[in-house]
C-alpha cells in the first residue's frame, strides 16, 4: 500500500495516489500532492478543489465535467467556463488531477 507521509503519519493512497480514506484529507495534503507533481496551486486551483469537495460532500461523487464547467463560468466568467481552461489548470485532466488533490475517489464504470 503506497502512502504519503504527512506530519509523521502515513496516509494511505491507492496506486495512483488517490486517498484511500477520504476523511484523511486536509488542505496540506493537496499541497504535498501538487508538489510531487511540480504543480503550483493558485487561488484558481483552490476554487476548483473547494468546489469539488463541497460537491462531493453533497453527492458522494465528483461532479460531471459539465457541472464543473458551468460552475466556473458562473464564478469566474464565461471566458474561463470551458474545459480548455480546466486542462490548463490541471494538465492531467480535471477529473483525475483535481479530484486527487481534493481527496476524491475517481469515478469508475462506463466513463
Amino acid at each position: 500500500m503506497p502512502t504519503i507521509e504527512f506530519e509523521g503519519k502515513q496516509i494511505e493512497v491507492d496506486e495512483e495516489g488517490y486517498l484511500q480514506n477520504l476523511e484523511d484529507w486536509v488542505p496540506e495534503l493537496a499541497k504535498i500532492m501538487s508538489e510531487q507533481d511540480s504543480q503550483e496551486l493558485t487561488d484558481e486551483h483552490w476554487e476548483i478543489i473547494n468546489f469539488l469537495r463541497d460537491y462531493y460532500e453533497k453527492y458522494q461523487i465528483a461532479p460531471m465535467i459539465k457541472i464543473l464547467v458551468k460552475e466556473i463560468k458562473k464564478n469566474m466568467g464565461p471566458d474561463k467556463g470551458n474545459t480548455k481552461y480546466l486542462y490548463q489548470l490541471f494538465p492531467d485532466g480535471p477529473a483525475k488531477q483535481a479530484c486527487r488533490y481534493a481527496g476524491l475517489p475517481k469515478p469508475t464504470g462506463c466513463v
Partner: protein, 543 residues
Amino acid sequence: MAKPTKPTKPPKPEELVKIDYNPPEKPWMEVPVEFKPGTFCYGTRPKYLEEIGFPNPREWSPLDDDWKLPADWKDTVLKGIGERLKKNRAFHLFMDICVRCGACADKCHFFIGSGDPKNMPVLRAELMRSVYRKYFTTGGKLFGNLAGARELTSDVFKEWWYYYYQCTECRRCSVFCPFGIDTAEITMMARELFNLLGCNTDWIAGPVANCYRKGNHLGLEPHTITSNIEFLVDDIEEITGIKVEPTFNRKGAEILFVTPSGDLFGDPGTYTCMGYLMLFHELGLDYTWSTYASEGGNFGFFTSMEMAKRLNYKIYAEAKRLGVKWILGGECGHMWRVVHQYMDTWNGPADFLEEPVSPITGTKFENAKTTKMVHIAEFTADLIKHGKLKLDPSRNDHLKVTYHDSCNTSRGMGILEEPRYIINKSCNHFHEMHEDTIREKTFCCGSGTGLNAGENMELRMRGGLARANAVQHVRDKNGVNMLANICAIDRATLSTLMQYWVPDVGVSGIHELLGNALVMKGEKERETDLRLEPLPGKEDEDV
C-alpha cells in the same frame, strides 16, 4: 511500494505500432508471464469485495510475489473448474473439441495490437485447457506435457489472471471458429475462478459494489441522478427552448426506462441521454426513470454469473414495484448481451409485465415477447418508419458519421440494421467502415469487460488499434469526423482511443444524432447542437 506510482503512459502511436507477430522460440508453456506496466489493471481493494460478500478481501497487487491466496487455493480452483464443467456444457465442450486450426488466431484485437501469442484466442484457451487436461482427462494424467497438460501452479494462476484480463469477451473469435468455440465463455469461467479467491480488478469490483448498493456503476445516489438529469434538462431548454419533464421512480408509468449510468455522467454519453429525454418528451411517452434500477450495464457480468444475476435482479424487481407494462433499454453493449441472452433465464419469468407495444405506433414488439424489454434502437426505428418523428438531418451536416457495431449487440444479439436506419434518417453523411471490421466482424473498442481503466492504457490502445485503424481509413477517405455507436463503454473508451490514434474524430451515441435532428413541437430555432457547438451556418451568429 512506498511511493504512489503514476499510471504508465502508453508509448507514442508510432512506437506502439511496431509489432512483432513472430512467436518466440521457446514453447509457450516455458515462457513465464511478465506483468508489463500499462497492460494490466490494479487488484481490487478489499472494501469492494466486503460490500458484495466476496471471499478473500485483502490488500494486494498483481505485481506482488505473494498474492495472499488462501492455503487451499489450488483445491478451490480445481474444484471450481470441476463444478463449472458439470454446470456448463459450453465450457466443457470448449475444453475438449478445439483442433487448434488457428483460424481464430489473428481475429483477436489484442493479438493484432500486441503480437503476444498468448493473445491468440486458441492459446488463451489453451492456458486453461492445459490445466484441464492435467486434472480432468486420462490422457493428460498419463502423458502430462506430451498431451499438452501442465500443473496448476501459482505462476500459471498469475498467467491466467494476466491474460483473462486481456480478453474483452467480444466473441469475434467465435464467429470464425468452425466449432463456434467462444473464448468469452472460457474467460468468464476463468474470471469466476479468480473471484473465488478475491482476485478481481479494482475497476470491475468498484462498479460492482457501487451498483449493488447504489443501483449503478458510478455510485450515483438518487439525488445525484435527478440533479444530473436536471442539468441535462437545462441544457435541452437552452438549446430548444423546451423544458422536458422526466419523472423518477413513478408508479403507474407505462414504461420503465433503463440505460447505462455512464449516460448520466460522462461526456459524450450525456448527449445521448439528452437525445433520449428529447425523444420521450416529443412523443409524450408515459415513462419513468428509476434511481434504484439505474444501471443497464452489468459489471457483475465481468465477475461471475451469480454476481451478474444479483445486479440484474433490480430491473425486473423495479418494473414490478412500479407496476409498469414493459421496459425500454438504452444504448449499451454488454447490457444488451445480458438483457437479450441472460436476464429472463436468471430473473424471469417477467409474467407481471405485458408484451411490449409501442404506444405511439401500436407496433407489437414480438421479438421481446418473453423478456418484455425493447431496445431503444428498435423502438426509435419503428417510430421513424411510421413517420412519427419529424427529422431534419441537415442539422447534422457538420458531421460525417461512421458506425461502430458494439461486440455484444452484434455478436450476442444481432441488432445491426436499426442503428444504421436511425443514423441514415438523422444524418446526411454516413460512411461504413471496411466490411471486415463491422457487423458480426466488428472489432472491439479494446477496453470492454471492465478493462476501461486508466492504468492499462497501453493495453487498451493496442486492443483498439484494429478499430481505430478502420476509423482512420474512413476519415482519410470520406472525411469522417464522428464515430457513432450504441454502447456506453464505447462512448467512454472510443473517445480515448480516437484521441490516441485518430485525434480529429469524435464519438457519439445514435440518440445524440437523433436529438440533433429531431424537430420538436414548439422549439425555438436551434443555434447549437446538443454539445452546445454552433450548428452549420450558425457559427457567425454565435460570436
